[in-house]
Point group: C2
Chain length 489, copies 2
Amino acid sequence: MLTREKKQDNWKPIIKAFEAVLGQKGVIKRREELITYECDGLTSYRQRPAVVLLPRTTEQIAQIVKICNKYSVTFIARGSGTGLSGGALPLENSVLIVTSLMRQILKVDLDNQRIVVQPGVINSWVTQTVSGAGFYYAPDPSSQIICSIGGNIAENSGGVHCLKYGVTTNHVLGLKIVTAEGEILDLGGQVPEMPGYDLTGVFVGSEGTLGIATEITLRILKSAESICVLLADFTSVEAAGASVSDIISAGIIPGGMEMMDNISINAVEDVVATNCYPRDAQAILLVEIDGLDVEVQVNKQRVAEICKKNGARNVTSASDPETRLKLWKGRKAAFAAAGHLSPDYYVQDGVIPRTQLPYVLQEIESLSQKFGYKIANVFHAGDGNLHPLILFDNAVPGALEKVEEVGGEILKLCVKVGGSISGEHGIGADKKCYMPDMFSNADLESMQWVRQVFNPKGLANPDKIFPTPRTCGEAANTTMKKFPGVEQF
Amino acid sequence: MLTREKKQDNWKPIIKAFEAVLGQKGVIKRREELITYECDGLTSYRQRPAVVLLPRTTEQIAQIVKICNKYSVTFIARGSGTGLSGGALPLENSVLIVTSLMRQILKVDLDNQRIVVQPGVINSWVTQTVSGAGFYYAPDPSSQIICSIGGNIAENSGGVHCLKYGVTTNHVLGLKIVTAEGEILDLGGQVPEMPGYDLTGVFVGSEGTLGIATEITLRILKSAESICVLLADFTSVEAAGASVSDIISAGIIPGGMEMMDNISINAVEDVVATNCYPRDAQAILLVEIDGLDVEVQVNKQRVAEICKKNGARNVTSASDPETRLKLWKGRKAAFAAAGHLSPDYYVQDGVIPRTQLPYVLQEIESLSQKFGYKIANVFHAGDGNLHPLILFDNAVPGALEKVEEVGGEILKLCVKVGGSISGEHGIGADKKCYMPDMFSNADLESMQWVRQVFNPKGLANPDKIFPTPRTCGEAANTTMKKFPGVEQF
């Protein structure tokens, strides 16, 4: 393995080998161009890679990876770089393999409801490609207009519609991958049920630690006949939470069910001015109902009645696309809006059993008061996937560390009530220290043995997911530096 | 590893160790009692195990497995023994671990829609446990009144309702397992989205080769408000197939959609006399629609219109539970009924992309004529999961081999059109020789490396799934004997 001290000269033969595969245009090595690639969506961690590669084909990736193996250099795959857990954070002296030139839709098979894409294809392009024929791709992260399918595979991304339709892993039929040793494998297939071990399922969500997906077969769904969005406003978070439980208990599975609290509502109205969200509400629920028109009409009434029974002041609804978009606009902009409330914010991602919602929200409020940071709550309420946004000022010395501590307390709370430390953003570099809170040493070891199968030398995306060393503090100090300012060339 | 020649004496200390854990009643060793356990649902393969164990707890299984490791004896897990691919086929000189005393429902959590069960719990008991509260467990193999949840996990079982709701793997949240070395691990959890590699997904469908599931957390669903079953009869198989395609293309996802051909229809009417299935129909479709009452009413009309447009002579429907059950009765009895058409039958299980249905059915008919065996077709039409039943007489020398050849040709046909060699019955001992038709050597090797992680000595269910030696003929001759008649004690 190359050491940090490795100098530019050592990279010369390696870069020459890369250029022989990709041409000079496919290899980025100038310092000022590399800065763009220092971080992904988790901007508080930065490391500059030694070189950035822009392959176009599976074979090129296999060749690149073989070169990495020959010279024992580590490599990290990156799609659009929108991930929020630092899954695509480079290491110094590493190779960053960026899939942004791999944006071809390889095959569309409407009759069998599947589409084959390269990893750099943007999430929303998939739906755009098939929507004219009445189909869509269900997983819809908030970043869907910029995030890539390859990144979605790595992080097993979710989104608003995952309550009813499942996360990325439920929509991947097969994968062509390049392993960490440069071998090309086919996982899964073209039909949902394949014999043998489900390695497709293992690969989805493995955050680039098992190799790089180069061709992805996705399931596409038939668009619903009718869609309706309801907005209900409440004078307490508890009433909104109770409505969520009652809707699910009634056997209604909304296409999406999102909750926002008072801080988020006001942040959104300040910034995007939807003029739909009442500023004095303690919580709003956005409930999307889809299906046959008759079904939507009945369920719309049922949801409205449940919300009113739980004390909603108003319930409005919209079926035309324009007004629906307007109602969703604030929710989709919630993270960005939080950025206007304070100089910085830290977004957490945890999952709890739905029944624990009132208790967990109270505890988050207690943490907010104890540590003195405002916390805005925006979440996929139907599946218990919380996104607390902790507001802070990174210019205050020690603030980031304190906020990370609050974030950690929230994750421990999720684990305590039987939940999970990640709903859809992944573990990446950010949360690996919390893995022992969820898994026993034996459990983690079996995962690491599986990693050994695909990535025996540890060259593919090292120092992600697994807690080595074991605590966050140690990790931050020893395996990566924040804002290091270390220059490679 | 013990050799075949190992005599009774060698087992004495091993059996003593087992009895120390399970008591004498938990250890079956008398020859006449062992006969019951010589095969599972694939009755054409038989091997008598050296001893059968009946544990009651996770800890007992861990201790048993450790004893197997100490003495290097192989072990095979078995639930109710209804599997159709020989996944629970014992080996000579092996230990058969039967979960039929592990039939406790450990926890019911209706609010969070989950239930925790021991592996010996019968599939239909899960629904029975929660149906009073308006819930059910979706995967419903035809054998659901006798098959065990542990066996369902091993084989990733499907069923009629898997078109809309997915197979077993889509309904398992978490597993406590005992690895092949006797280590207890927790895979997955209590909420659907868990970080790290999806080892739950790998374990489900691994056919006992990675260890034994001892506690299973299942997702339960809210029962639909309304259910309707339609029966449409056609004068050609093609017309029925076209209706299936058109129903799916219309965006309707039936709870189940099953097709039976003329041979199956007559077999069923001969045996169970539903008096619902017209004997002169070339094919019937059974379509179950579930959901809100208004939704069911609309979709019922749409399905009926589609079937009629495609030439259905009659379309009838039933909403009351009694008539629905009557309509389903014939389909559920189809395999058993085939047993009355000829002395023996061989059931195949393959998957094809739905659009290939007319072509594949024609090819199966050609194979039937070429080899001179009648083939009845019964299948989950909506998801392209075929179940051709090849009718033959095992008393005719060489007939079984010929029929296996026909079965193999059908599987190769499935692979050729982009399908799979198993939809829901697993690979087991029966189909491992066809795995190279679906997977490259590199693909198979990665699966086998994953097996090494959980089962490094190969003691858990050896000689299943993976093709060693590579052809069926070899496998039958060298690694197992059919009807061996070899006596252990």
